[in-house]
Each structure stands twice: as C-alpha cells, then as structure tokens.
C-alpha cells in the first residue's frame, strides 16, 4: 500500500483493519466500557435480588448465572481490556516509540478478546449462561448441565489467547522500542507497572489455558480429570485456576498503581517520591504474586504446613505494597495538590485501597480465614481492592488521559459529582459487607432467610449499588456533554512524561522525530531545565508504517465460529471455523508485507500545523 492509499481509507474499514496502537487502544476502551456496563448491570440485578430476604425477583439458577457472568465479565472483559486500552495507547507514547513491536498481533489480540467476550455473552441467549461462579470449581463446572459452561470455557480460551498475545507484545515493545536515552530506569511508572503486569500475564495465563483445555476436554470430549470415580481429582482445577487467578488480581492492580503514579506527581507538581523503590516494589509484588495462590484454598485441606507457608508468603506482599502507599503519600507531602477529578480518584484510592489491602492481610491469616472464606467478608475485601484500586485507577486514567486520546476535556464539575457519588455509593455498598460475612452470610447465595440479622445491612448495600449506578450514568452524561472543551488538550495538566509532548490529536506516527530522553520525567525536565521542547534524536525523515489488515479479524472470527461448532458438537462447523483461522494465518505468513512510508514532506507539513 502506498501513503496516498493509506490516507484515503473508508472509516469503518479503517477501524476494522487498523493496526495502529492508538486506534486499537480506543477499541479496547470502547469494548471494555461496554462490558463494564453489562457487568455493572448484572451486579445491580444481583443487588436488587439481595435487597430483601427471600426475595423472588430473580430465580436461584438465574442468580448463579448472573454472579458468574458478573465476575467473569468484570475481570476478563471489563477491567483488563480497559487497562489494555490505556496500555496500548500510552506505552508507545510514554517510551517515545512510533508503534508497538507487533502491530498485527496487537490487532489480533484485540479481536480475539472481543470475539471471546461476545461468545461468552451469547450464552445468555443460548439457553443459559455459565453458573458455577467465575472460579468454575470442578466438578460443579465439569458436570453442569446445559451449554453455559461450554461458553465459559471457549469464551475465556479465545479471549485469553488474545490477552497473552497482548502481554507479549507489550513486553517486547518496552524492551526493544524505547527512544534513545529512555533507559529502563527512566521509564514512567505506568509503563513499568504495565511491563510487570505483562510478565504476570505471560506466566499466569498458560495455567488458565490448560485448566480450560482440561475442562473442555472433559465436558465435550469425554476425558476425565475431575471425575473421582475414574481416578480423577477435583483439586487440580483449583490449583490451575488460582495459579492463574492470583497473579491475575495483580495484573488488574499493577497498571492501576501505574496510573496513580502518573496522576499523583502530576497534580502534586512533584516528582514521584522513591522512584527506584517503586519500581523495585512492583517487581517484588509481581514475583510474590506467584507464590501465594493457595491462600484461596485454605479450607481445601492441603494441610497445615502448606497453609502456614502460603499464609506467611501472602502477608509478605503487604510490605512492598506498603512501600508504594507511603511513597505516594510522600509524593504528596510538600507538593501543591490540585483537586482535579483525575486526582480525586487517585486520592480516593489511597484510603480505600489500604482498607481493602488490610482485610486482605486478615484473610491471609489461614486460621482466621476458616471463618472468612467464601463469605461476604471476602466479597468486601476484593471489591475494596478491585474497585478502590483498579476501577478508581481506570477512572483516574479516563479523566487524566481523555484530552490526549479524544481531543476534549471532560467537564470537571460533573466529574466531581460523579466521583463523590461513586465513592459514597461504593463505601455504602461494600463496607457493610464485612459485617454481613462475619455475621454468617456466605457469598454466592441467591437469597437469605429473614431473622438472621442480615436484612438491614443488605438493604444498605443495595442502596449503595444504586448510587454507583447513578454515578456511572453521570459519567456517561459527562462524556457526551463535554465535547466542546477542545481547547488546551495537548498538555492540559502540565504533564511530565512524553505522551504530553505530542500534538493532539496524536498523528499516526506519534512523533515526527523520535525524542531524545535526558532524564526521568523527560518532558518536565525539558520544561524546567531546558527550553520546554524535547530534543530530537533524529532529523525529520520518511517514516515507516505498517499496513492495516483485515486478517486479525478473520482469524479471530474463525475461532469464534469454531467454538460454536465445538459447543454444539457440530464438527463440520468447527472445522470450517478452524480452516478460516488457518487460512488467515497462512495468508499472513506467506504474504510479505513491508508496510509503507510516510514521506518526510508530509511529516513536516503536519508538524508545521497546516495540512
């Protein structure tokens, strides 16, 4: 393809075939937001059912489907993709790169995730969603009737491959594509934490892949791993799931930590306190994250030695996390703190997450966990860390980066209303759940009996959920009513890092000239120690760009089709699907495609402002 041809693509076709990390980032954000609304709606339905004892708003079976889909959707289809959206958009900009390492695979990762997500949700219309919890413990999952769990297995498998591809892509991007001068220890923390999260993805997802493979073979092809009668063992699934599952929660939190580490310094106008300690703590959290998974299995009966070891290992994670918390506090110390919406979320995060974190340490006490386990105390813990950490991080990121990504600033007044409503609703919903759990309310119950002292607190919890729902709608309103704020969008917050040095909208090649990085917080350094402009590492020249391709979509679509074939045992369909995928891959590998060049003149023209 030539430059001219690349310029004149039809809009829809352009988005379907895009390999531009910024567009893919936006696709991730859009799909993630959609699934967040779906998962949130499911949560609200559950909360309505739990508003009163013995309520019959939703049937027990449907409730189990809702809770499974809520957890699965939120974790795999909302939180992670939203993070991926920011990672995709921001990592190359933050390290001064023109693109990610594997643009084609990047697109493939997105389409796999999207089709996996759609597949999972099709189950609602195909006779029932999965109903064994997001953890899908065997043998409940392996023997669950209907097709719900088949959708779970294949949906997660397809989207999981997408995630794995994304993870590898980020790893290589960070290692190989950094601008001159951007050493590892000058990388912004968001990039660092995304890098560590990608490592976790690389080593955690394969365990899930195998877990899902086993479950699929058992459910669809007559294998037996979990069937006790034939020598199986059901605990194997739990190990495989949690060897993936615990790192997964750090995959969710680390990039959010990264966002806070961008937002807090920016709005305190102070360099991040203890940068190298922060990097180190992130690495330690990532490492320890692999050695604690059995804290989800304290009641399984693996023995006291094992329980004790995993308990102590789990507690150890509080140390590096504490280091981060105190570093953030000290970043604020002596700063000039501006209470923008983005910063409000970052500030709201600190106390909220610490509360969730310390209940985590309580859970880590194995002997006490015998009481906590599988009660609402656990539900409270993980919503405190996930919402107080990941979701607040995402919202902070939304308000912080929105101008750069979408070219307009979100209304601050509405934003603040949204923040306060969400924060209040959040604490209302989940604070009381600590007590519910200890007072005898198990999790994953479709309802509860009256007379157990659980009624009031459940009612309060539901009211809180409504507040969060209203808050979310206000966010949507904010997004759609702020579009006129198109001024001051290149560097609205007096930013510190490279993404703010680009023009907005960001040109497809990101940087006309690759920047030369001279310090941590490169842009801030040039502003206050230099002349306010980045030095260039190269003269303006032709810029090489990859060609768009429809093949990623086709490959993902093939797997989508094949999944239906497997679920309904229509093997010809499965084969057709696989053939579609393989043809896609085949074409990709035999057709050499070296992209095209944007001529230097065009780059210059862009740079001087006029088109």
């Amino acid at each position: 393809m030539s430059y001219e041809k690349a310029q004149s693509k039809n809009v829809i076709w352009d988005w379907l075939t895009t390999v531009d990390h910024k567009k893919i980032g936006i696709l991730y954000l859009a799909a993630g937001a959609f699934f967040f609304a779906v998962g949130g709606l499911e949560a609200i339905l559950m909360r309505i059912q739990l508003m009163f004892p013995e309520s019959s708003f939703i049937q027990a079976q449907t409730f189990n489907e809702l809770l499974t889909m809520h957890g699965t959707t939120m974790v795999f289809l909302a939180a992670m993709p939203l993070l991926f959206g920011f990672m995709n958009y921001m990592i190359p900009l933050q390290i001064g790169a023109r693109d990610v390492a594997f643009p084609f695979l990047n697109a493939l990762g997105f389409w796999l995730f999207l089709f996996g997500g759609i597949l999972l949700n099709v189950s609602w219309f195909a006779g029932g969603a999965p109903d064994a919890g997001w953890t899908a413990y065997a043998p409940l999952s392996s023997e669950s009737p209907g097709h719900g769990l088949d959708f779970y297995v294949l949906g997660l498998q397809v989207s999981g491959i997408g995630t794995l591809i994304g993870g590898i892509n980020f790893l290589v991007t960070v290692i190989n594509m950094r601008a001159p001068g951007m050493s590892m220890m000058r990388m912004p923390l968001f990039t660092w934490s995304s890098f560590v999260a990608s490592m976790l993805i690389l080593f955690a997802f394969p365990a899930l892949t195998i877990g899902l493979l086993l479950l699929m073979l058992e459910r669809l092809f007559g294998a037996t791993y979990f069937g006790v009668d034939l020598g199986g063992n059901v605990i194997i699934w739990q190990h495989l799931f949690w060897i993936f599952g615990h790192p997964e929660v750090y995959i969710l939190i680390l990039p959010a930590f990264g966002i806070f580490s961008e937002v807090l310094p920016t709005f305190a106008k102070k360099r991040l306190f203890g940068y190298s300690a922060m990097v180190f703590a992130t690495l330690i959290i990532g490492f320890l994250g692999f050695m604690v998974w059995a804290h989800h299995m304290f009641t399984v009966g693996i023995g006291p030695v094992a329980n004790a070891i995993f308990a102590v290992a789990t507690m150890a994670i509080a140390v590096p996390t504490g280091i981060k918390i105190f570093n953030w506090l000290l970043t604020l110390w002596g700063g000039r703190i501006q209470f923008t919406t983005a910063n409000l979320f970052a500030l709201g995060f600190i106390p909220t997450f610490v509360m969730g974190g310390v209940t985590g340490v309580m859970l880590a006490a194995s002997a006490a966990d015998y009481q906590f386990h599988d009660t609402y105390f656990v539900v409270a813990h993980f919503h405190y860390v996930i919402i107080g950490g990941t979701v607040f991080g995402l919202f902070a990121g939304v308000f912080y980066w929105w101008p750069k990504i979408f070219g307009y600033r979100l209304n601050e007044t509405l934003g603040k209303v949204f923040f306060w409503l969400f924060l209040t609703g959040f604490h209302l919903t989940f604070f009381v759940q600590h007590f519910l759990g200890l007072m005898g309310m198990q999790r994953r119950v479709a309802s509860y009996l009256p007379g157990q002292g659980l009624d009031q607190l459940n009612f309060i919890s539901t009211i809180g959920a409504f507040l969060m729902g209203v808050a979310f709608i206000i966010l949507l309103v904010t997004i759609f009513t702020s579009m006129k704020n198109t001024t001051n969008v290149s560097d609205p917050w007096d930013g510190r890092t490279l993404e703010w040095t680009t023009t907005t909208p960001v040109p497809e090649y990101n940087f006309a000239q690759t920047p030369l990085v001279r310090e941590l917080d490169a842009f801030w350094y040039e502003k206050y120690e230099g002349d306010g402009k980045m030095k260039a590492a190269e003269p303006i020249g032709d810029i090489h760009m990859p060609n768009g391709s429809i093949l990623p979509l086709i490959i993902a679509f093939g797997l989508f089709v094949a999944s239906f074939g497997l679920i309904y045992a229509v093997y010809p369909l499965a084969i057709v699907g696989l053939i579609i995928s393989f043809i896609g891959m085949f074409l990709r590998s035999v057709k050499e495609d070296h992209g095209y060049h944007i001529p230097a003149e065009a780059v210059k023209r862009d740079k001087d402002g006029g088109k």
Partner: protein
C-alpha cells in the same frame, strides 16, 4: 512491495535473524512465548503427575509403555534438533541451499516421530487405554497429545516456510522466520526430554 525502489541485493550480516528491528522483535517475542509455553507444559506435567495413579482398574503405565519404541522416538527428535542446528549454521554462512536441505531433514525426522506416536496411541487405545477410561489415560493423552500437536504444528510451519521461500534466497524477512521456527523445534525437543523421562521412564521404573 516497497514503494518504487529497485531490489538490490544486500550484504549478509553476521546474524541475519537479528539484523532488523522486526527480526529482533520477533526473536525476543518468540522467546517470551516459549517462557509462557514452559508454564503451559508445566501445568500439563503437573496434571499428569497428580493423576497418574488414577488408573481406575484400567491399564497403567507399566502395562503399556514400550520404552524401546519411545527411545527410538527420542533419538529421532534429538537428531532433528541437530539437523536444525546445522540449518541455522548454514544460514549464517549464507548457504541458503544448506539451510533448506537441513530444514527438510528436520521435517522428515519430525514426520517419522509423529508416525511412531500415532502408532503408539493407536496401540494403547487397542490395549484398552481409551481417552476417557481413567484419569490417568486422559492426563497421559493430553500431555503427550499436546506435545504431538506442537510437533505437528512445527512440521507444518517449517514446511510452509520451505515452500514459500524455496526460491527467494535468504532475506532479512525470512531469516528471523527460520530462526524462530528452529527455536520452536528445539523447545519441542526439550519438552520431549521431560516426557521421555517423567512419563515413560518413571512410568516403568517408578
């Protein structure tokens, strides 16, 4: 094809697979992928080891395994690793023919291995070790079968490369492709070493 530039032959760099940014990305990304594959096979090995006692009155390892056969398979795979090493050395020497030749040898050895494996599965199935007969059976077929699937994929991948690039000569695009395919092939061999030891030898011995 590149826009309006004539094709001029280029000078052979010492490591053609890493001479371009694309090549370096591919190289590193592929290694990371192998890191993930390590965990993938680790999970399968774990599952197998956890379940290998679960024969449920069906045939067990010592009833079935013919180590002699498996020994031959191991030798085939080891040798194919060596041929792929030769292929890469030839590539770095700029001897494209040699590369193709040794890669072809690799494919042939891989196919022979697969043939044995199919025969083996067929035989075990015949002796009453159906896929779903016992947890041991399922875990065994899943572990060894996943490896077999990797071999199949490796063979097809290399074959496609051989056909696609039969005439092109060594280029900066196909050097990384051949190189990563060879990495993949070595990795398959590494996994097999463990299968040979843990599944077969320990199956008989332990």
């Amino acid at each position: 094809m590149a826009d309006n530039h004539t094709i001029e032959p280029q000078v052979l760099p010492p490591n053609p697979e890493k001479a371009t940014l694309e090549g370096r990305n591919k190289y590193l990304g592929f290694w990371f992928f192998l890191g993930g594959e390590t965990v993938l096979f680790g999970s399968l090995f774990g599952t197998y080891l956890g379940l290998r006692g679960g024969t449920a009155d069906g045939p067990g390892p010592s009833d079935l395994f013919h180590v002699d056969l498996v020994f031959i398979m191991t030798m085939l795979l080891l040798t194919s690793s060596l041929t792929s090493v030769f292929a890469i050395i030839n590539m770095k020497r700029g001897n494209y023919k040699g590369l193709l030749l040794w890669m072809t040898a690799t494919v042939v050895l891989g196919l022979a291995f697969l043939g044995f494996e199919i025969y083996e599965f067929y035989e075990y199935n015949h002796q009453g070790l159906g896929f779903g007969v016992s947890a041991f059976a399922s875990a065994f077929y899943t572990l060894v079968g996943t490896h077999g699937a990797h071999v199949t994929f490796g063979v097809s991948w290399i074959t496609v490369l051989l056909i696609r690039y039969r005439k092109s000569g060594l280029t900066l695009t196909n050097a990384p492709k051949f190189y990563t395919a060879v990495l993949y092939w070595h990795f398959i061999d590494v996994v097999w070493v463990f299968i040979f030891t843990v599944v077969y030898l320990l199956g008989i011995g332990g």
